[in-house]
Subunit: 236 residues, 2 copies
């Protein structure tokens, strides 16, 4: 069960959790590297590896002679970039409703992106979600993951949890990049009902292919976004 994470990743997870959990206020300083060494019983290079990852993911900025300064968590970047949607808005306000529980299916014949052989042979895990802010529907997303080495995945709970966080913490799958196409389209009947907008009203439409640290493991998503009250915010 214990996935034997390296120490710097364990420390990364701890600090990340503390930051998003509000243990450290925005703008305040993290404990110094030497303090972190002492507290967690590791050496400074190890601590620095963890901090580097936090910098890369936008949770802190470092200043020589000063320390590590905590940034507001959704410095992570929202739907336009590699992180999950949860952090874009602030996890506390974003609720997740599963429209279609994760289920194993075959791939459809036509896809906006091309599959690798392994992916096609393994089938897919299909998952539909509706995501709400203040009980108002904002995202509707359709996700396809290749069914490769994801034990117990279909039986896990997704309510109010980020898909990416689950992949990262339980399967050590990290998003390393991707590509996406973006359009403004008219809401169809189906979409308008889900997102509670008028039929024909403009909604954002995204197609994404995300790369991961697992070779040949990509996540394919289609996302509809109701931008009437919220807009997609991105920092880069």
């Amino acid at each position: 069960m214990g996935p034997k994470l390296p120490q710097y990743k364990k420390l990364y997870e701890i600090l990340r959790k503390h930051i998003v959990g509000g243990v450290y206020e925005e703008g305040s300083l993290l404990p110094s590297e030497n303090e972190l060494c002492a507290v967690h019983g590791v050496t400074r290079p190890t601590v620095r590896q963890a901090l580097e990852a936090l910098v890369r993911d936008g949770f802190i900025v470092k200043k020589q002679g000063k320390g590590s300064i905590v940034k507001k968590p959704p410095q992570d970047i929202g739907i336009l970039s590699i992180s999950g949607t949860a952090s874009a808005i602030g996890q506390q306000y974003l609720k997740t409703q599963i429209l279609s529980k994760p289920q194993i299916m075959t791939w459809p014949d036509e896809l906006p992106f091309e599959l690798s052989e392994v992916e096609r042979e393994s089938g897919r895990i299909y998952l539909e979600r509706l995501r709400l802010v203040n009980d108002q529907p904002v995202f509707y997303d359709i996700n396809n993951l290749p069914n490769i080495n994801l034990p117990r995945f279909t039986s896990r709970s997704f309510e109010n949890k980020s898909l990416f966080e689950l992949l990262r913490t339980h399967y050590q799958i990290e998003i390393t990049g991707g590509e996406q196409k973006l359009k403004a389209i008219k809401a169809t009947k189906h979409i308008s009902e889900l997102l509670k907008v008028k039929m024909g009203d403009p909604v954002l439409y995204l197609e994404r292919k995300l790369n991961t640290n697992r070779d040949g493991f990509h996540i394919y998503s289609t996302i509809y976004f109701n931008s009437e009250k919220h807009s997609i915010f991105g920092v880069f």
Copy 2:
């Protein structure tokens, strides 16, 4: 005048130059870390720092047990990221039409972003463009730059030139990042006429604030995008 770069940065610059210069083919392997140590007379942690930076900047990917694989330099990134719109589509197909020549004005009272004091006091350079692909209008953008140390700017030619390229080559201003908001909206009469879509049809709407290497110098843009035939494509 030697800027006394740290060793790992020197090595980074060397390897980067070699990669973009074609010394290493795309997909081929860089010398192993130990080889690089020997050749450049540094230790492995130093080499790894340089390679880390190359990974971060998208020039290589590393595989445990295999080596460092050369990627084609981060092609361009499209409108969703820091580069100009020209590279998103391919400069050769994108034409620029100036709707309102650059002119010096005062800032309006209301702005989607907050100005710094220096920016507000200096006034702005205002610039409207329409950008076409195959003679079909695709972007309409409204740009505001603070009027700080930009000699002869209003008299320069912009036709078929990237605003960012001009800023970089003539004023050494580089975009370092930014933030943006994204919505799908209905085309107003004005927008529909410019982008040649029906009134009320969905168009993409972006508001951006771009940071530069000049402290306190930001570029504020509003962009309307006709996504009927083209979609915005982004790699990250």
